[in-house]
């Protein structure tokens, strides 16, 4: 090993340690043990590729799923410059030389001058809690203003907050309940014997067949169909909801998206574009009845007649996003909701007005659809959208409450569902 590589190695160790402290300042529980194993892991994989290097660090330094988004961000900020190793090494030196904590730093700063530099790697929690707290807030503020944004109503958003909320949606995990298909794969669950493999394995068996090979049923994510109301009364929500649809379209494998007002428009292909802002601009131009009136029944009919057979075939989940202000015939709306309910696996209705404590589902439109929906959920702030993830993920699993199954007073049923079941499950997620 030549001198240069020894130097590099020292640099690497120093910067890994420093990165660990950086993460700790952001609230991750990174102790000396984690840092040691991170160094070991980094040595094992080397720094040939950014991917392996990142996985090595993530595997050793992150212990909670909810910390991954922060880790991703911290990794990008910390290692973004090619000369990062050099910089961190010198930064560390300075850090060691200077005992006083530096409270003026902002992230992203070129070097991670964290106030934890005051103590050594093992000294966790023995410094003034205020400073630790302060730096954590600083870091979190740069990382995501999620906490502040989550409970703010969408209609009160500024441009900037809308952008941030869209970013939080994008960085969240989205998954949809699985469906058992009729297709089989090798597995340990004893659904059916795999005779071909059994015979192959036992060609030499002298007496009875002993090693049995099994197949089990394959699981697949369900398709998701989103029908989003963009009429006048929903105008305040339509932009963040389009961001939501854009995010989900890209995060889940089979998503079909439609907007409706006076007529139905399929926007699946527009949402497949990589750049959300660009996609949204095109949609705003393309969708003819942006902020017009609502004829929910007629548009659902259009969906049922032209799209249902093509999109709802294999146990689809349907998400209708609307405040239920329908100017059409309630009978038509009820009939088409009934048809929609019969054609899909689960029908979820998201209503922004459910966010109001005083809201009573009494409009004709809502009363017409209530008998047919499985979940009636609010969609008025970021938290409600993030909570939706829990419902989507739990679809198909036992224990997911449905609107009909809870026996509360009609106007409280949805609250009970939201405050009890979902929030309880949700606690601890980012």
């Amino acid at each position: 090993m030549n001198a240069a590589s020894v130097d590099l190695k020292i640099d690497l160790l120093a910067s890994t340690t420093s990165f660990g402290r950086f993460l700790r300042a952001g609230g991750l529980k990174v102790g000396p043990g984690e840092i040691l194993s991170a160094i070991e892991a980094v040595e094992l994989v080397g720094v040939r590729g950014k991917g392996e290097f990142k996985w090595a660090l993530q595997g050793t330094l992150v212990k909670q799923h909810s910390d991954i988004p922060f880790f991703d961000w911290a990794f990008e900020v910390f290692w973004q410059h090619p000369d990062r190793l050099q910089q961190t090494a010198s930064a560390l030196e300075k850090l060691a030389a200077r005992e006083a904590p530096d409270n003026t730093h902002r992230v992203p700063s070129p070097a991670p001058r964290t106030p934890t530099g005051r103590s050594d790697a093992s000294g966790q929690g023995d410094q003034a809690p205020k400073e630790e707290e302060l730096s954590k807030i600083d870091l979190m503020a740069a990382y995501s203003p999620a906490e502040l944004l989550r409970s703010k109503r969408f209609e009160e958003y500024s441009e900037n907050e809308l952008r941030q909320a869209a970013e939080i949606l994008r960085s969240s995990d989205w998954s949809l309940g699985l469906r058992k298909t009729r297709r089989l794969r090798q597995g340990h669950k004893r659904y059916r014997l795999n005779l071909q493999h059994t015979i192959r394995k036992n060609v030499l068996a002298t007496r009875e067949f002993v090693k049995l090979a099994w197949q089990q049923r394959k699981q697949k994510p369900r398709p998701l169909v989103i029908l989003c109301d963009i009429s006048g009364s929903m105008e305040r929500y339509s932009r963040i909801l389009l961001h939501f649809m854009h995010t989900v379209s890209r995060a889940l494998p089979r998503v079909e998206s439609f907007t409706f007002g006076t007529r139905l428009t399929r926007i699946t292909n527009l949402l497949r574009r990589g750049d959300a802002q660009q996609a949204l601009e095109i949609i705003t131009i393309d969708v003819p009845d942006w902020d017009g009136g609502t004829r929910i029944g007629a548009t659902l009919k259009e969906f049922n007649f032209t799209w249902a057979r093509r999109t709802l075939g294999t146990g689809a989940v349907v998400l209708v996003i609307s405040d239920g202000w329908d100017t059409g015939e309630p009978d038509l709306l009820a009939a088409e909701m009934a048809r929609l309910k019969r054609s899909c696996h689960r029908l979820i209705w998201l209503n922004p007005n459910l966010g109001y404590e005083t809201f009573e589902p009494l409009t004709r439109g809502i009363l017409a659809v209530l008998p047919y929906i499985d979940n009636f959920l609010p969609v008025h702030n970021l938290r409600s959208l993030l909570d939706l993830r829990v419902v989507l993920k739990a679809i198909g699993q036992p224990g997911l409450p449905t609107y009909k199954s809870s026996g509360d007073h009609p106007s409280r049923r949805w609250l009970g569902l939201n405050a009890g079941g979902i929030q309880a499950n949700y606690a601890g997620a980012p």
Binding site: T181, R182, R183, L184, L195, Q196, I199, V203, L204, T206, K220, N304, F305, R309, R310, T311, G313, T314, A335, R339
Partner: protein, 303 residues
């Protein structure tokens, strides 16, 4: 191949087998035969997609090999499977003969004679001098994974069995794939095929079809039936009736001894035409009466 040499000839010969197709479909079939490419047929339910393959098999005087697709259809049911029972017996026989060399046993039991040929392999490994017609029916019912198996067959007309090797078709089978479009089929499959969308027939074609398939129905009743169905298709129905429904309905009216169409006969037999309760409720009563009136006046005035 004693296939047709022109589009006109094909059209006539399809007609000989009572299949009335419009020019665009005949052209698509002709091209599929000449270019030796699979023909991918999409269209509403009951417009005669499957019938194309059946008629082609008769026309070319060859065997029709049919693969009905369903969810979970896999290589063992579509391409080949080993005959496990025979393999086990063979292993026992070899044991009795004191043969215990693993290689030898493997070679013995994974030979061609232990293979069960499913439709796709049958079509590729077809021994007669005339290539068969392979019908892959309702491909949209199979899951996406299955389409991958098809790719090798559709582009190279060959099947690869790990234990035996690649079996190549001596003559390319005539392949017809149908889909009711309950989902979109992957581009990779479509790219290897000629594509054709079969529409509902015109009144003239439909009348022609009814006359050919049910020659004992009177011309006036046939005309009324076609006029009724054609108007009904324009109504706002969840599921419009296809040609198959028209023929069923005509047969039903004939069986009831109807010489002329009346609202009563129509109401009694509506189940052969409409398959959704909502549609039935909508059509029964006034709509049937006005449609019958219109059909009767149309066919008497028109002919």
């Amino acid at each position: 191949m004693n296939g047709p040499n022109s589009i006109e000839e094909l059209s006539t010969r399809l007609g000989d087998f009572d299949y009335i197709a419009d020019r665009s479909l005949v052209t698509a079939i002709y091209l599929a035969l000449k270019m030796e490419k699979p023909l991918f047929l999409e269209g509403e339910v009951g417009v005669g997609k499957t019938e194309v393959a059946k008629v082609l098999a008769k026309l070319l005087d060859t065997e029709l090999i049919r693969l009905q697709c369903y969810e979970g259809l896999d290589v063992h049911n579509a391409v080949f499977e080993w005959n496990y029972a025979r393999q086990i017996i063979q292993i026992r026989l070899l044991e009795a003969a004191h043969i215990s060399d693993k290689e030898q046993i493997s070679q013995e039991i994974f030979g061609r004679e232990f293979l069960i040929r499913r439709p796709l392999l049958q079509a590729v490994d077809y021994q007669s001098d005339k290539p068969p017609v392979l019908l892959i029916d309702e491909l949209d019912r199979a899951d996406e994974e299955f389409e991958a198996f098809l790719l090798e067959i559709l582009s190279d007309f060959q099947v690869t069995i790990p234990e035996i090797g690649t079996i190549r078709a001596k003559q390319k089978p005539v392949v017809i794939i149908t889909s009711n479009r309950t989902r979109e089929i992957h581009d990779a499959v479509k790219r290897r095929c000629l594509y054709h969308w079969i529409d509902y027939p015109t009144a003239k074609q439909e009348l022609d079809i009814v006359r050919r398939k049910l020659p004992h129905i009177s011309d006036s009743l046939g005309g009324q039936i076609v006029s009724f169905v054609q108007t009904l298709r324009e109504a706002d129905l969840y599921k419009a009736p296809g040609i198959a429904e028209t023929l069923d309905w005509a047969a039903a009216l004939n069986a009831l001894g109807a010489a002329e169409m009346t609202p009563e006969f129509v109401e009694d037999t509506l189940g052969t035409l409409l398959k959704y309760q909502d549609d039935m409720v909508k059509v029964k009563g006034d709509m049937v009466a006005s449609l019958v009136e219109r059909a009767v006046s149309n066919s008497s005035g028109g002919s």
